[in-house]
């Protein structure tokens, strides 16, 4: 079985580092980007199995990023998980409306994170 590749997009180095730690410990290969634009750049060159993205980011925010991904020819079935601290659900709804597959609530529990990924990735 090949290693699953995860693209993590967040402007917080702390969150990127924690995701990297959790995901690589779980056997994923982790790619990183610091905003939506960088995320798109990565997706142009690399193929990934799942994307985890923050919403509030400079340059290009997560909502815009998801829209762009979904509008691109070969990424319609790429699972995209939204990282959100919002419990008030509005960001989540926006993310879903833009084409997000699911969400992860920060602060995330490592086990939960992995199980959520498995819910959206083969």
């Amino acid at each position: 079985m090949t290693t699953l590749r995860v693209l993590t997009v967040d402007d917080s180095r702390t969150i990127l580092a924690m995701l990297h730690h959790t995901l690589s410990n779980a056997g994923f290969e982790v790619l990183q980007a610091e905003d939506g634009q960088q995320g798109l750049d990565v997706l142009m060159k690399e193929s990934v199995d799942v994307v985890i993205t923050d919403i509030n980011m400079p340059v290009m925010d997560g909502i815009e990023f998801i829209r762009h991904v979904r509008a691109t020819g070969n990424h319609q079935s790429l699972p995209i998980l939204i990282l959100t601290t919002e419990t008030s659900q509005d960001k989540r709804e926006l993310g879903k409306a833009a084409g997000g597959t699911g969400w992860i609530v920060k602060p995330f529990d490592p086990e939960k994170l992995i199980s959520v990924i498995h819910r959206v990735v083969h």
Partner: protein, 766 residues
């Protein structure tokens, strides 16, 4: 746990960057630049601080940041106007955030009510504005806080929020019967489910983990092929799950992400009527998506039914465009454009305040072309590695200059190619040196940005009105210098606020504006960086300084120093106008700390004051710490070097005019100016075997234009040296600023010109 510590270190690093950014943004906002880019940047910074804090369980920080963030959100979408008051409140909030971060870092606990007042003001602001909205919009920030509980790992909270409330509440009233754990689920995905890359197969796979599962595809409504719409979903699944422990919540959690993108019912078989299923489907969506049904197969299918589901959400395959089985994966993008907005859940979840909705829309639309440069690539490198390169380049520079020196006239004439080669080498080495130094260079911004807060605090504590202006904050200096700069700068600004700027009424009386100004600037001047702290206060009270200096024995009672020398006295060791040791200026520590810190990094301090008009303190700092241009001299038999930057001129002793002073010492007369003389051989207790007349005077000037004449035994020449620390293996030595290794491998000592002068004052005092 070291991983966690690493993350924390990353987090605190990030926080300090974000806090700096906040200072910068608010400096601009205060100056009137209130555009949405800045507000968005501020919002993101607070959001990031909060996010990380949540991960580490810094609940006080999270609580405050959350309230602040909510206010910012209101400001961002215009519900709260960004008045000067609100701006000031935000700046205060930034300071509170900084304190929370600091407390979290050091493990201190702040007072429980710290920042509560500000939090209440956020709340009042939000409430006041939101009152115009419909009733749910009036939710206060405090109430938000109750909802938002930061916990390192909080799985339950996630589930609770994610659950569909109405159905769950109804169901939970009925006691669970473990024996009758048999559930029926009907599931009809909508087109939108696939458009968001969800996949029924994965849902079934997860469901299967809950218990014994059986699925059946219902294929009643598949249209004739001619009417078949490739992107429509024509299939419903009926699923039964048998398990003694499974709950409705667990089943619903599996469908968490597809809520609204499917019709789903969950029924407990043989359960009491109270548990009647509540359809959470969205009728509107059903009308849109679920008109036709596709007959894929009509047998009962178990989990392997999934391949059929998978076919509905295939990976894109351009080649398959015409094959109808795989068609659903094709032009979702076109479809997405022509499609109506995605269906919304019919029943909005419980906690969702209506007031958030208008806020959400602009956020979604808002394209944020922020300040960050796109595509600038960077790597993080251990500073040690950079320093190793810096050191080696330093050695290379010296070897190169040594080689060049070895070329005498005869060699030059004979080996022109070699000479050209050496010239190229010299150029390349210089270029290499500059490039390496640039790696270590950082804008002074990182230190400057800490000062506005300091000034605000000082103004509050002293009751003065003080404005801080910063200029040239993008000036770059070596990282080590920057790190050493913070304390001296803090001291100098405290000094200006404490002793320089007058009380508002005094200022008005003197015909000045009520608000005093401290100007902090940085500029490059030749091989140095000048950092200037200037205020428009009352200037140094020379009478008082002189009195204190005499009382404390800093200078002998009978000396009559010039105004400039008096000004400089504030940096003398042991001098502190401590009659009013406030907790601002000193804690008993005087400005001598500034001088010693600055000297440590090879810099100097000069103060110039004008009574009634203000004071200007100038720090002169080396651009780089690694390489120094020096003059190599001999004292006794030993090699010494004097920094070229402090040398004014050199004179043969035979040509210099000395004069005896009544105390018995000697002074040098240069162009009508009398300069103190230090015989280095005597001072360093070396035997000079050189004939007095063939010795040399090295006339030096440090900061303050006060000169000193050093007598040395010989002058050997100029060169560049790499500064080495004596303290690494030994300790600090009076009069010596460090050591260096010469081309022949011997150690030469670096004369500490400023230090010798300070000693002189001491000696006189003693």
């Amino acid at each position: 746990m070291s991983d966690l510590d690493d993350f924390k270190a990353t987090y605190f690093d990030e926080c300090s960057e974000l806090l700096n950014e906040l200072e910068e943004q608010f400096a601009a906002i205060e100056a009137g630049e209130r555009d949405s880019d800045r507000l968005n940047a501020v919002f993101r910074a607070i959001h990031s601080i909060k996010g990380g804090a949540g991960a580490f369980g810094f609940s006080a920080l999270v609580g405050f940041a959350h309230a602040y963030e909510t206010l910012l959100d209101y400001v961002r979408d215009g519900r709260v106007e960004l008045t000067d008051d609100v701006c000031a409140l935000c700046i205060r909030a930034n300071d509170i955030i900084a304190d929370h971060v600091k407390a979290a870092q050091s493990g201190d606990v702040l007072d429980a009510d710290y920042g509560m007042e500000e939090k209440e003001r956020f709340d009042a602001l939000a409430r006041g504005e939101a009152a115009d909205d419909d009733e749910t919009g009036g939710e206060s920030i405090e109430e938000f806080d109750i909802d938002f509980t930061p916990v390192m790992v909080n799985l339950d909270a996630v589930e609770e929020v994610a659950e569909a409330p109405a159905a769950e509440d109804a169901f939970d009233t009925a006691p669970l019967q473990p024996e009758t754990g048999h559930w029926e689920v009907t599931f009809t995905p909508h087109r939108a489910l696939f458009e968001r890359a969800n996949d029924p197969l994965l849902l079934f796979r997860e469901l299967a983990l809950l218990g014994q599962m059986h699925t059946r595809a219902v294929l009643g409504e598949i249209p004739p092929l001619a009417n078949f719409e490739p992107f429509a979903v024509y299939c419903t699944w009926e699923i039964s799950i048998v398990s003694p422990t499974v709950t409705e919540a667990a089943i619903r959690e599996v469908f968490e992400f597809v809520e609204g993108d499917c019709d789903i019912t969950v029924t407990q078989v043989g359960a009491p009527a109270a548990a009647a299923p509540v359809a959470k489907a969205a009728p509107a969506a059903a009308a849109d998506d679920g008109l036709d049904l596709l007959a894929l197969a009509d047998d009962e299918v178990g989990v392997p039914a999934a391949p059929a589901a998978k076919a509905a959400a295939p990976k894109a395959d351009a080649a398959a465009q015409d094959k109808f089985e795989e068609a659903p994966g094709l032009s979702f993008s076109e479809l997405a454009e022509t499609m109506a907005p995605p269906p919304k859940p019919v029943a909005p979840p419980r906690a969702k305040p209506a007031a958030i909705a208008p806020a959400a829309a602009p956020a979604a639309e808002g394209e944020d072309h922020g300040t960050r440069a796109v595509g600038v690539q960077s790597i993080r490198v251990d500073l040690d590695k950079v320093d190793r390169v810096v050191n080696m380049v330093g050695e290379l520079v010296i070897t190169q200059s040594m080689l060049t020196q070895q070329m005498d006239e005869t060699l030059r004439a004979r080996y022109t190619e070699l000479v050209r080669g050496l010239e190229v080498l010299a150029q390349t080495t210089r270029g290499l040196q500059d490039s390496v130094m640039a790696i270590r260079a950082q804008p002074v911004k990182s230190v400057f940005s800490r000062m506005p807060r300091l000034v605000r605090e000082l103004a509050t504590k002293t009751g003065k009105k003080i404005k801080l202006e910063t200029i040239g904050e993008n000036t770059e200096i070596d990282k080590t210098v920057i790190e050493q700069l913070s304390d001296p700068l803090t001291h100098m600004i405290r000094n200006s606020a404490d002793h320089g700027i007058e009380q508002p009424d005094v200022r008005l009386g003197r015909g000045k504006s009520e608000t005093g100004t401290i100007r902090l600037s940085a500029e490059q001047a030749g091989g140095n960086i000048l950092i200037i702290v200037e205020d428009d206060g009352g200037g140094i009270n020379r009478e008082r300084v002189l009195q204190v200096a005499r009382d404390k024995g800093v200078i002998p009672p009978d000396t009559n120093p010039t105004d400039e020398q008096i000004d400089q006295l504030i940096f003398a060791p042991g001098f502190s106008t401590a009659a009013e040791v406030s907790d601002l200026s000193g804690r008993g520590v005087g400005m001598d700390v500034v001088l010693s810190n600055i000297k440590k990094i090879g810099g100097s301090v000069h103060v110039r004051s004008s009574t009634g008009k203000g004071t200007r303190m100038t720090l002169r700092l080396p651009l780089t710490l690694a390489v120094l241009d020096v003059m190599l001299v001999k004292v006794g038999d030993s090699p010494y070097v004097v920094p070229l930057s402090s040398i004014v001129e050199t004179i043969q002793v035979s040509r210099a005019s000395f004069e005896r002073v009544p105390s018995g010492g000697q002074v040098l007369q240069v162009r009508g100016e009398y300069v103190q003389v230090i015989d280095l051989a005597k001072r360093f207790d070396m035997k000079s075997q050189t004939d007095q007349d063939s010795r040399f005077v090295v006339l030096c000037e440090a900061e303050g234009s006060q000169k000193v004449a050093l007598i040395v035994d010989d002058i050997i020449g100029q060169q560049q040296v790499v500064i080495k620390s004596l303290e690494e293996n030994f300790e600090r030595v009076e009069g010596i600023a460090g050591g260096t290794i010469l081309g022949d491998g011997n150690v030469a000592l670096i004369v500490d010109v400023q230090g010798l002068k300070t000693q002189l004052i001491h000696k006189n005092a003693a």
